[in-house]
């Protein structure tokens, strides 16, 4: 029984924080739009990726590289080169979403381990087994849409390892199948590696309150007493039939600490922490809490209980300072 802790890093200091505080694997991305966190100033160039791998390997830890956006005809070479660079840097696996790119990777680097990204939108075992049969993917990260019962069913029908999201910003939509961002801004996670890109965001103090706009569209309006979070477009307040509310999703973080024993029991291989765009301090604190929680559950699954101190720590780091079990817990849907 083992459960790998997979932590995010958008920079070398974040990667070191993850490794030093108990991550089994750290996932990173190259600079630019070959991954779904294409933020200015974030991510690794080839030398930094090499250094990340050396640092982690020297401490017995792994580095995974996300190449999880969809290359287009005009830009294919950039993605293909990124696969080449990942192999050169010696990462332990690459995390892919595009089937064409998987075919390139498995033909060119048959020894390189492939993971199916959450952006690949595989929500059932027939889809996962498709990627396994054609490209030999060894692990799949599931979109945050299945209930735990559905995950358990899925595990019975696939030889592929399953990784679940455990903590961090919550995508309410099936990853890889959401074009809301490009509808408003022209750029989506699939095509540009961004959602609600910062360059399209405008904040404005008005008489009615602080307004956040994305490419001109009013996403929300905050009273002086309210916390204004990053204006991700699905987490704004909108009006439906005369009622104004969080019509799609509240600004909340996924937090599944209490589900660790169930995950262990059903044979989940890894838990993923979201947040490559977050600071090294975030990575350090989240990693430490999750390490302690997983170790505690491994020592004594029967008597595992969530330590209130862990929750307090994570709540401080959560988006919107709220937690949810998301789709793992059926009533959320």
């Amino acid at each position: 029984m083992s459960l790998e802790l997979v932590c995010p890093a958008g920079s070398l200091p974040a990667l070191k924080a993850a490794v030093d505080n108990g991550a089994d694997c750290v996932y990173i991305g190259f600079r630019g739009n070959t991954n779904a966190r294409a933020f200015a100033g974030l991510n690794f160039d080839l030398p930094a990726a090499g250094e990340a791998v050396r640092y982690a390997h020297a401490r017995g830890k792994k580095v995974l590289l996300a190449l999880n956006t969809y290359p287009q005809a005009a830009t294919w070479q950039r993605w293909q080169q990124a696969v080449d660079h990942a192999a050169e840097a010696g990462v332990d696996a690459i995390i892919l979403a595009d089937a064409g790119l998987m075919r390139y990777a498995c033909r060119t680097y048959p020894e390189l381990r492939l993971h199916l990204s959450v952006q690949g939108s595989a929500t059932n075992y027939e889809a996962i087994n498709f990627y396994h049969e054609h490209f030999g993917i060894q692990r799949a990260v599931l979109p945050r849409v299945l209930s735990l019962t559905q995950v358990e069913q899925l595990l019975k029908h696939t030889p592929v390892e399953i990784e679940l999201f455990g903590f961090g910003g919550l995508c309410v939509m099936v990853e890889g199948r959401c074009m809301l961002s490009s509808y408003v801004t022209g750029e989506s996670p699939n095509t540009a590696g961004v959602c609600s890109p910062a360059k399209a965001v405008r904040w404005q103090q008005t008489r009615q309150g602080l307004e956040s706009r994305l490419n001109g569209v009013l996403l929300d309006r905050y009273a002086a007493s309210e916390n204004a979070g990053y204006p991700t477009l699905c987490k704004g307040r909108f009006e439906v039939s005369g009622e104004t509310y969080y019509a799609i999703e509240e600004p909340a973080s996924l937090n599944t600490l209490e589900l660790i024993p169930s995950m262990l029991h059903m044979g989940i291989s890894a838990i993923k922490i979201e947040g490559r765009q977050r600071s090294p301090v975030y990575v350090e604190q989240v990693t430490r809490v999750w390490r302690a929680a997983i170790d505690s559950a491994m020592r004594n699954t029967e008597n595992y209980a969530v330590d209130p101190a862990w929750m307090m720590q994570l709540n401080k780091l959560a988006e919107g300072q709220q937690n949810t079990l998301g789709a793992y817990h059926r009533p959320w849907k």
């Binding site: 064409g100 595989a122 027939e126 049969e133 849409v145 309410v172 199948r177 074009m179 439906v240």
Partner: protein, 303 residues
């Protein structure tokens, strides 16, 4: 270019479905996609009903394709999927890689919810048996011509050309959420919203449309004015709506046959549209954008 009618994305009453397809058998459309692609709880029409409608449309000379659900989660979703892929009579549109898996080796259509963004993926799908692919709605005309530089042989290209854009899928049902109902006890409120539930910004701007677990644009994607620049497109898809669908199809047909000017066609179309038009995706911009046209001026002049 052929015209297709996409699957109905909403949940309509049983009588309305029969009546709609009765009319469609006489409509000016070449290909009809049938089936429930959004929510497994919508079962007013069973597979037998879809197959009965399919036979009727086929005997009226339409090419019929059965579309699979986009978000497949449970064993019962997979059971429904297998019944479609093994129907033995009609071609199937795959909207999930699980469906592609089950259809490999047969002729199939790679639907709009398969992420086909580059020639390598298109070639892969061709090798598995795809005879037609539907471009993801967020792709532009430029991206389309780039991908088709190495167009596989015997592969038809279809684009979504008219209707509210299907933009996202979720585990959560936003219609049930609106009524404060749990998804498991949604009371089929989608039936009350045969065109989705419009979501507006806090300043009253129509923005999106909630359709169960699917989120659509409130704006109507309309490529009627672009038909002259679509040499590489083999099929153009109109998404069904509860009103004027046959008239919309007829306008596209008249344009394709050169029987109507762009201006006149757009003018007539504007009168059929319940929401503002958009065409940004086709032009490589934000999907909600609308390129300006002289129709706007003619409409605002009150003609």
């Amino acid at each position: 270019m052929k015209l297709s009618l996409g699957p109905i994305l909403y949940y309509w009453q049983r009588d309305a479905l029969f009546e709609f397809y009765e009319r469609i058998s006489d409509a000016q459309v070449d290909i009809v996609y049938l089936g429930e692609t959004v929510c497994s709880k919508r079962h007013i029409f069973r597979l037998e009903d879809w197959l009965a409608v399919a036979e009727k449309l086929a005997s009226a000379g339409k090419e019929v394709v059965l579309s699979t659900q986009a978000l497949i989660e449970s064993e019962s979703d997979l059971k429904t999927l297998r019944r479609l892929t093994e129907n033995g009579r009609f071609r199937v549109e795959a909207n999930d890689m699980g469906a592609v898996h089950l259809l490999s080796g047969n002729e199939f259509v790679a639907g709009p919810h398969i992420n086909t963004y580059n020639p390598q993926t298109l070639a892969l799908l061709t090798g598995l048996g795809a005879k037609r692919w539907v471009m993801p709605v967020e792709m532009s005309r430029q991206m389309l011509s780039d991908i088709l530089v190495d167009k596989p042989q015997d592969m038809e290209t279809e684009i979504f050309g008219y209707g509210r854009l299907p933009l996202a899928f979720s585990a959560r049902c936003f219609t049930a959420r609106h009524y404060n109902l749990p998804k498991d006890d949604c009371q089929f409120r989608c039936l009350d919203h045969p065109y989705g539930l419009t979501l507006k910004t806090r300043e009253g701007q129509p923005f999106l449309a909630l359709n169960g677990i699917q989120t659509q644009s409130s704006g109507i994607y309309n490529l009627l004015a672009e038909l002259d620049n679509m040499q590489q497109v083999d099929v153009l898809r109109v998404s069904p709506q509860p009103f004027y669908t046959e008239k919309v199809l007829a306008l596209f047909r008249q344009r394709l046959e050169g029987r109507l000017s762009v201006e006149e066609a757009q003018f007539q179309m504007a009168r059929l549209m319940a929401d503002a038009p958009c065409d940004g995706y086709w032009h490589g911009r934000a999907g909600m954008d609308q390129s300006t046209s002289n129709v706007d001026q003619r409409l605002s002049a009150g003609s």
